[in-house]
């Protein structure tokens, strides 16, 4: 019951949130929601212990697919988004054959190289990918015009609600996956490589499964992005954004489900809102970099460890009579 209440408050807060913000903050909020899906899907992949540098290009596969579907084939937008997600998953499936022969650093760079090849192909082939300039005038969701209900998805608030619903559903699915038997196996693949293998778990199959699932959700986030901005180009998905995703996940912490979300929200607010409003221009990357180093040095377990500590402290205070044995259990 208490959990239900908390979720109700969170939902109400998220619904009310855009109405308290300025216009540019509403825009940033939309990107933030999309990036939350991206970074959480990234975490699913990292559960198996592999860190990819290709996730953002896979996101781009979803974006390009969905955009081309609507532009060339006239597919209705939400449907094209799902196709984008499926295509991203399919490309990940193909990539898994070479990539999962590698591990660790090799996987990191191997994923980067294969992603970079995809990105260079977008650049090289003006037909159908639009070359270096990419695609533009990508349709957004069709306006809704039913009697008194008028929704124009160009409006950040409207698109925010749409994205929020999509992302919330995806996060719920990702959460269920993690808590399922499959999710537990992902953890096992990471921590007990040899043991899991000995107990009959086909490591590679589970790695591939995690990779394909994570990539599909990344593809969906790419499609959400493409239909909001209305333009994509190969540079939108370059290694620079990948580096940001990586740092969101690590600075936030990947031990918990909410860690990467925390990292994404805090670092984005810092970079796009706080530092800009303080009037930094050329200094902005410098301060951002320094904060990244500081956070990793002083919070090696991520921002999530702060939450954990706060929750532990709160629990201790609210239940002072708790038996010591209970805590450690």
């Amino acid at each position: 019951m208490r959990n239900f209440l908390i979720w109700l408050i969170v939902a109400a807060g998220l619904i009310a949130l855009p109405h308290t913000l300025s216009f540019s903050l509403q825009e940033i909020l939309v990107f933030l929601v999309i990036n939350v899906l991206l970074v959480v899907s990234y975490r699913l992949l990292t559960l198996t212990g592999e860190w990819s540098l290709g996730h953002v290009v896979i996101m781009g596969v979803g974006a390009y697919t969905s955009a081309l579907m609507t532009k060339r084939l006239g597919v209705y937008v939400p449907v094209s988004m799902i196709m984008g997600a499926l295509m991203a998953g399919f490309v990940a499936f193909l990539l898994s054959f070479p990539l999962f022969r590698m591990k660790g650093f090799y996987f990191l760079i191997g994923s980067f190289a294969s992603a970079e090849i995809i990105r260079l192909l977008w650049k090289r082939f003006r037909e159908p990918f639009g070359g270096p300039k990419g695609l533009k005038r990508i349709d957004s969701l069709a306006d809704i015009n039913i009697g008194p209900i008028q929704v124009d998805f160009f409006e950040p608030v409207a698109y925010y609600y749409f994205a929020l619903i999509v992302v919330a559903v995806c996060l719920w699915i990702l959460w269920r996956i993690e808590k399922s038997l499959v999710g537990l196996t992902f953890h096992a693949v990471h921590w007990q490589d040899k043991l899991a293998q000995a107990s009959g778990v086909d490591l590679r199959r589970y790695r591939t499964l995690a990779f394909v699932l994570a990539s599909s959700f990344a593809g969906l986030s790419g499609a959400l992005l493409a239909h909001y901005i209305g333009t994509i180009n190969p540079n939108s998905f370059d290694v620079e954004l990948m580096v940001f995703v990586l740092t969101w996940a690590i600075v936030g912490g990947t031990a918990t489900f909410y860690g990467p979300i925390l990292g994404c929200v805090v670092l984005t607010l810092l970079n796009e809102v706080v530092l800009r409003e303080m009037g930094f221009q050329q200094m902005r990357p410098l301060i951002y970099g320094a904060i990244m180093i500081g956070s990793i040095l002083f919070l090696p377990d991520g921002l999530e460890s702060l939450v954990k500590r706060a929750m532990a402290a709160w629990k201790r205070r609210s239940t002072p009579a708790a038996e010591p044995g209970k805590e450690s259990a």
């Binding site: 540019s24 825009e27 533009k136 209900i149 160009f154 902005r284």
Partner: protein, 435 residues
């Protein structure tokens, strides 16, 4: 709460509300200095939405620097006179990092929170992200890249650079003055600036009767070592090597390599920023006769009758004093756009975007930095929103760049328009081909 108010924030109607309606929603952010929403009386704010950090910053930051000088000078001379009252000008910068999403956010902030009257952009990748914002707010935008123009955006103008069309003037001058040069090769970076420029040079060479000995050689924008590119260019013994619209980061090492690999022929390029440094890296003799399109603003010809950029020589001096080593084409181009905007706003007696645009485009003519010009472009861009007229042909003589002639772009186009359209179409650069 009825359904109508619930959906109030979701429809276009509320978007069109003026900046004043922001006050409530923006209360949260207005606690920061510099975020005050209501414009103070008699201050005109101009948005500057370009990359200020990151790899493309060289196309934005020096422009904002130039605008600061422009604003200081205009404000010192009494500001902008709108309907009898003097207004001071202030530039509000937003770093879009050359990212369409951040550009969209920036455009929203500049228009709906800062209350700017006009937004200057670099354009390129960032414009398609801003386009819907321009559509729905009616704000006037300018770009340095006319390839952003299309009939779908009524409020985007390209009043300074008509890149890459002006490159034809250099080739035309070359063909007239050195008719013995008959063969050419070209290299270009594979990006949004390189490709339309390739098409333009191909058309210009064809019009001038110069044959291409090889397909244009494309390289990735991240290239650092140009020896292989130069070796390939020289392998066919051309009379002319064309560097297309290479950025200065490429022009310098390419020239240095051409020099070291023993090239002795003609070079033509769109830009040659810091050419004095190229001369130092090569030799005066090697660079003699190098043709490009961007004059130094200390050229005496820039003070001639008909040049509309006021006090060019002094501007150049002031810029180099404040920002040594940062001068380039974009340093003056944004300021030149402001000259045009100021004149139009004073004529219109208003800073309203629609009124300013109407005054600016009245009669289909305008005062471009390099002389009177016409609003043109339907053929290539689908809309007459590029200010096109004469463009200088600059040649290096005895180590100094000098304006040798003013070439007329409309005249060239009247004679060779079909060629240009053919090559633009082959490279997928016509407005109706853009995906």
């Amino acid at each position: 709460m009825n359904v109508k108010t619930l959906f109030k924030g979701l429809s276009r109607r509320s978007f069109l509300g003026s900046a004043a309606s922001v006050a409530g929603a923006g209360a949260l952010s207005s606690s920061f200095p510099g975020m005050a929403i209501a414009a103070e009386d008699n201050v005109i704010k101009i948005g500057f939405l370009a990359p200020l950090t990151g790899p493309v910053a060289a196309w934005g930051k020096p422009g904002l620097d130039g605008c600061e000088i422009w604003a200081d000078w205009v404000n010192a001379a009494g500001g902008i006179n709108i309907g009898g009252t003097a207004h001071t000008v202030e530039f509000v910068g937003y770093d879009n990092e050359y990212d369409p999403g951040k550009a969209r956010t920036g455009a929203t902030k500049l228009i709906r929170e800062d209350g700017v009257s006009f937004v200057m952009m670099l354009g390129g990748d960032t414009w398609p992200g801003v386009e819907p914002v321009a559509d729905k707010t009616g704000m006037l935008f300018s770009t340095l890249l006319p390839s952003d123009l299309s009939p779908d955006s009524e409020t985007l103008i390209a009043p300074a650079e008509v890149h890459p069309v002006y490159n034809v003037t250099g080739v035309e001058w070359l063909a007239k003055n050195k008719p013995e040069l008959k063969t050419a090769v070209m290299c270009a970076q594979d990006d949004a600036l390189g490709l339309p420029s390739v098409a333009t040079y191909l058309a210009a060479f064809e019009a001038a009767g110069i044959t291409m000995q090889d397909d244009p050689l494309l390289f990735d924008p991240a290239t650092t070592d140009f020896a292989p590119v130069v070796t390939r260019l020289m392998s066919t013994d051309p009379d002319i090597i064309c560097l297309d619209t290479c950025y200065s980061d490429y022009v310098h090492p390419i020239c240095e390599q051409l020099f070291q690999q023993g090239y002795k022929g003609q070079i033509i390029s769109c830009t040659a920023d810091f050419y004095d440094q190229i001369i130092e890296k090569t030799s005066k003799e090697f660079m003699e006769g190098f043709i490009f399109q961007f004059p130094d603003f200390d050229d005496p010809a820039m003070e001639a009758e008909g040049i509309n950029f006021k006090n060019a020589n002094a501007f150049f001096e002031e810029f180099n004093k404040r920002f040594p080593g940062q001068w380039g084409a974009v340093s003056w181009e944004y300021a030149a756009i402001m000259d045009l905007w100021k004149a139009a706003a004073e004529t219109a007696g208003s800073t309203d975007p629609a009124a300013v645009k109407e005054a600016m485009m009245a009669g289909g003519k305008g005062l471009h930095a390099f002389g009177e010009a016409e609003w043109w472009g339907s053929d290539l861009f689908g809309i007459d929103h590029a200010l096109v007229g004469d463009w200088p042909v600059v040649v290096i003589e005895d180590g100094k760049a000098r304006i040798k002639a003013m070439g007329s772009i409309p005249d060239w186009y009247a004679a060779n328009g079909e060629l240009l359209k053919k090559h633009m179409a082959a490279y997928g650069q016509m407005w109706d081909q853009r995906t």
